[in-house]
């Protein structure tokens, strides 16, 4: 009898505790998984733009039509945090960045120390992006995203493979988002960030930019 009472009590506690679960959990079908994030500073307006690339399934014409949003459209604001928030609001699913492969920036953004460090500080605080996300530079992220639409896989996965295969041949050290976050605090090293160029719709690793 005592055992039954104990079991009932345990079930009562467990049942009560389970009531606390589920309210804030997001189902898988309500999530989207960005594979690449792109940040851009508009050289004329100094506005910061942010957008993401999703897995290839997400980009199928039917799915895009169904969801009614254009995931590649950049959202602009005064800083990275604002642009990020605006972009998240524009999506009809919750973005889960755990699978993010690459963070793409344009050169103007990289040179703007204030905006660049504000982004790192924001990402450090939010902890949304994985620390081992590769970081790349390009002239025009939107043009690169456009070129990525013709690939058989999403641009994030493609760039990850491109960077890693290039590294194997050159023994190059690929900086990650975590490395840049740490360097913001340490200020001891200079990182060579891979520079990606577009030549006749082909994406090439064309040297690096130091930061």
């Amino acid at each position: 009898m005592n055992k039954i009472r104990k079991l009932l009590l345990a079930l009562l506690v467990f049942g009560g505790a389970v009531q606390l679960a589920g309210c804030r959990t997001t189902e898988l079908e309500d999530r989207s998984f960005p594979m690449l994030a792109a940040v851009k500073e508009d050289p004329e307006t100094q506005q910061i733009g942010f957008t993401c690339v999703f897995p290839i399934l997400r980009m199928e014409p039917d799915a895009a039509e169904e969801s009614g949003d254009d995931p590649a459209a950049m959202e602009y604001a005064g800083d990275f945090a604002g642009a990020w928030e605006k972009y998240e609001d524009s999506l009809n699913k919750i973005a889960d960045y755990n699978h993010l492969k690459v963070l793409l920036m344009n050169e103007d953004f990289l040179k703007d120390d204030k905006q660049y460090e504000a982004m790192l500080a924001f990402l450090q605080e939010e902890e949304s992006f994985p620390r081992n996300t590769y970081v790349c530079i390009t002239d025009d992220p939107e043009a690169l995203l456009k070129a990525g639409e013709n690939l058989n896989e999403d641009l994030g996965t493609y760039l990850e493979e491109l960077l890693e295969s290039h590294r194997k041949g050159n023994e190059a050290i690929l900086p990650t988002l975590g490395d840049l976050m740490d360097e913001k605090e340490n200020r001891r090293k200079t990182w060579a960030i891979p520079y990606l160029a577009l030549k006749e719709d082909t994406i090439l690793w064309d040297g690096s930019r130091e930061k």
Binding site: A17, R24, E185, N186
Partner: protein, 363 residues
Amino acid sequence: MFSNNQKISLRQTFRLFVFDFLGISTLVLPTWLAGTTGVYGFVSILLGGVFGLLYLAYLGWAMNRMQTDLFTHLSGAPAWTQKLLYGYLSASCILTSGFLAAVFTRLVRRNLIREESYALVLILLLAVAGYAVTGGIESRARVYEVLFWFILIPLFLMLLFSLKGVDPEYFRPQAAPGLMNFAKGGYMVFLCFTTLFFILLFPQYVKPESSGKRLVSCVCYAFLCTEGILLILYAVLLGTFGEGALAKMEFPAVTLMSTVQMTGGFLKRLDAIMMGIWFFTLFALLNLNLFYGAKMLEKCTEIPGNKRYAGIVLVLAFLLAMLFEYTDGMTEFFYRFFWYAGAPLYILIPAFAVFMRRKKKSE
């Protein structure tokens, strides 16, 4: 198959203490040390080691004087002394349990189930801890004995793999911190080892032939083993993140485990597996505090009822853990309490206990 006499072997004691020391020290110390002594954090770890060894020698002296465990020794002391000591120690254990439960829950949510309810994770965690507490020290010691190498081998492997990311540049000395900072760093390390105090309560849980000097040297090995792990871990963390970044991280050791890339990449979400290290080590320390919190409370009220007190302690730990999560400055208060009162009292209590009993005898 197993005897059930509420006694544990010296090997189990060694493993129990390694688990108790490892959890919180590997989680919070690297950040504290990087912010206080930076590259020279190794000196603080060694200094803390010296403080710890001195403290252990002092506890050995107290045990020798008492010739038994603290509970039995104090049973002959004046009633007010017992109430005062047990009341304080119980409150201290409950407060520490609340803090540890909050850190544990934060860690689980941050790394495994980000969007899950804090209260739910906390309740389930405390329910499991409560079950372990009522199981007694023997059942817990058996579990830790089995888990010991399952936890330590992956930890060493991960540290080995992470050596690849260590940059010697981060070891280049900067301006040396002042003597006060070294002392502060050493004291911080010592704070994480105040669990040593509980050795005074251990003679009743080990076989008579294993108590005394053998018990002290067993705990001393556990202490030195943890010091060694701390030194290696601090070197890897410093070389990977650099002192500036390390000083701003919440749980750098966990972050390190999530960024280590293993050759072959055959294991995905390795960080979740590695969380097991802190899951079991923090759980061990939480259990120790809950267990002694309940015991002290029982001694303080002098009304028997082990399970009743375990229940009270669990409820209080739950409420405190909620306060730690949702009240600004609560964690700061805990650190200050431990810095200025908790640790100094852990130093004074053994001498006080020895002195009170002597006084009673002479009267």
